[in-house]
């Protein structure tokens, strides 16, 4: 009965060589994932894979489609799920740090450069998405434009700052982009507020002016405090920051 069709004997690596018969069929009925990469302690590449089903993996390296065997009790060779870092830590996103940095921008009169000492780009990305969201609410789809302008303006500020500071200018592009991105917070608030301000009036320009000056003030203070060589060129750097944030406010106003 079992030999109605010629089934070639399947060799399982750890289970020895089971004879063809009911043994095979029982083992074949175990729910396995269609592809399981070889998980072995001898493998040099640490591969994270997750157990699907209750079967544990085979520990020896074998043919690719060996797969886990039904009632196996073997210990998985790679990293287990519990040993991994939390996802946000692994990605380098620290929400409490982002929150602290964003709160420090809210005060236009006193900059807090200590919080911004280690630069990160996840806060700016969050602020960029919220700016795009508010622009979307205003009917303008400008995702690519804003991202491109952030990149160009941070390169511009990086060049200008380092050239002005001369020999001892040590601003690096990551920190520059981080500061420019965080100081977009006033522009985000402007775009949220401009949803309720009537179009084409001087009040709109006045509101935009206030937020642009806020962003400029914070950005200059942070730039001068975080990188050397910017002290005697405060006004020149402030003008560059002012131009950058005016450009973003143009997107919001018009």
């Amino acid at each position: 009965m079992t030999k109605e069709f010629a089934v070639p004997p399947v060799v399982f690596p750890s289970g020895g060589n089971p004879s063809a018969g009911s043994n095979n069929i029982q083992q074949r009925r175990v729910a396995t994932a269609p592809f399981q990469p070889p998980r072995s302690s001898t493998s040099s590449i640490p591969f994270m894979s997750f157990d699907i089903g209750s079967a544990a993996a085979s520990s020896s390296s074998g043919p690719l489609f060996g797969g886990p065997i039904g009632s196996g009790g073997s210990v998985p060779g790679g990293t287990s799920f519990e040993d991994e870092e939390p996802l946000l830590d692994e990605l380098g996103i620290h929400p409490d740090q982002i929150w602290r940095k964003t709160k420090s921008i809210l005060n236009p009169f006193r900059a807090n450069p200590a919080v911004h000492k280690d630069s990160d780009l996840s806060g700016p990305i969050l602020l960029y998405m919220s700016l795009c969201l508010f622009q979307l609410l205003a009917g303008k789809i400008q995702f690519g434009v804003i991202l491109g302008w952030i990149v160009v303006s941070s390169i511009f500020l990086y060049v200008v700052f380092n050239m002005l500071a001369g020999r001892n200018g040590n601003l690096d592009l990551h920190r520059c982009t981080s500061v420019v991105g965080y100081c977009l917070l006033p522009v985000v608030i402007l775009s949220a507020a401009s949803l309720f301000v009537p179009q084409g009036g001087t009040f709109r320009f006045a509101v935009a002016g206030v937020f642009v000056l806020w962003a400029t003030r914070v950005c200059t203070a942070l730039m001068v405090a975080l990188a050397d060589g910017g002290d005697e060129h405060r006004g020149l750097i402030a003008y560059a920051c002012f131009l950058i944030y005016t450009l973003f406010s143009l997107l919001v106003i018009f």
Partner: protein
């Protein structure tokens, strides 16, 4: 490395008759100031600087004198230079650049010490100001879109480079061919100040702004002519007066088409 850092302060302007030792200068360019060049060139920088090929190094020197020189500015210089650019006839002093011997060679003083020296901070900032003002002018006439502003950027860049090439070509064909390219880029960029004033005029007054255009292009033309005259007489080998005068006249009228075209921002990619 310390001697290289000392050399880094000077511009690469050679006086005719003096050949800068190219090896030393190549190192000065590579070791000098800006982290941008250090980081930006990266591996290629090491290859270029480390290569002992005289041809490569002397070509780099010919194309780009040390850009760090053009950014040694302070607020006082910027204010006074803007006054000279916008009202060149009010400038009481002389127009020559101060030279002083450093390291056995005559070189020009940096802009922080010499009001007549060109710099690159003002051109960059006025270009960006022009973009912002063009955006405002587009927005007030209802034609604002980010693509329009991007096209304005491209058009402004193209006209800046065109004007710089014009200056460089005319000086090279007449003079000794030793006018540094970055100097020409700086001089061409100074017309953006007049352009910004013209765009402000267009925003505030709608038709009287043509008078402002004529006024600012005249001022930019006078400024350019006076500076190029000095460069020409300092470096030209042949003293053919009539060609020089025609050239100076041409340069004096050259900002007019640029200012006229660029101060009318429309959303299209041409015109």
């Amino acid at each position: 490395m310390s001697t290289d850092e000392n050399l880094g302060f000077q511009s690469g302007v050679p006086i005719p008759g003096l050949n800068p030792p190219s090896n030393q200068f190549g190192n000065a360019f590579c070791g000098a100031g800006s982290g941008l060049i250090r980081e930006g060139l990266g591996a290629y920088g090491k290859r270029i600087c480390g290569s002992s090929s005289q041809y490569v190094q002397s070509n780099i020197i010919k194309c780009f004198s040390d850009p760090q020189y053009y950014f040694q500015v302070n607020a006082h210089y910027v204010r006074n230079k803007l006054k000279i650019i916008l009202f060149p006839f009010l400038h009481r002093g002389h127009w020559t650049r101060i030279t002083e011997p450093i390291g056995g060679r005559l070189s020009y003083n940096p802009p922080i010490n010499d009001i007549n020296a060109p710099d690159l901070y003002i051109p960059f900032m006025t270009f960006a100001t022009y973009l912002v003002l063009a955006g405002i002018s587009l927005g007030l006439s209802g034609k604002f879109s980010p693509e329009a502003l991007n096209w304005q950027f491209v058009k402004g860049m193209a006209s800046w480079l065109f004007q710089a090439m014009l200056l460089k070509a005319s000086l090279t064909s007449l003079g000794g061919g030793e006018a540094p390219l970055l100097d020409m880029i700086a001089y061409a960029g100074y017309t953006f100040t007049g352009l910004c004033v013209a765009v402000v005029g267009r925003i505030t007054l709608s038709y009287a702004y043509y008078l402002i255009v004529i006024w600012t292009s005249m001022c930019s033309g006078i400024f350019l002519a006076k500076t190029i005259k000095l460069t020409l007489y300092a470096e030209a080998r042949s003293y053919d007066v009539t060609i020089h005068n025609y050239l100076l006249l041409g340069i004096a009228f050259s900002p007019f088409p640029f200012i006229f075209c660029l101060s009318n921002p429309t959303g299209n990619w041409i015109s």
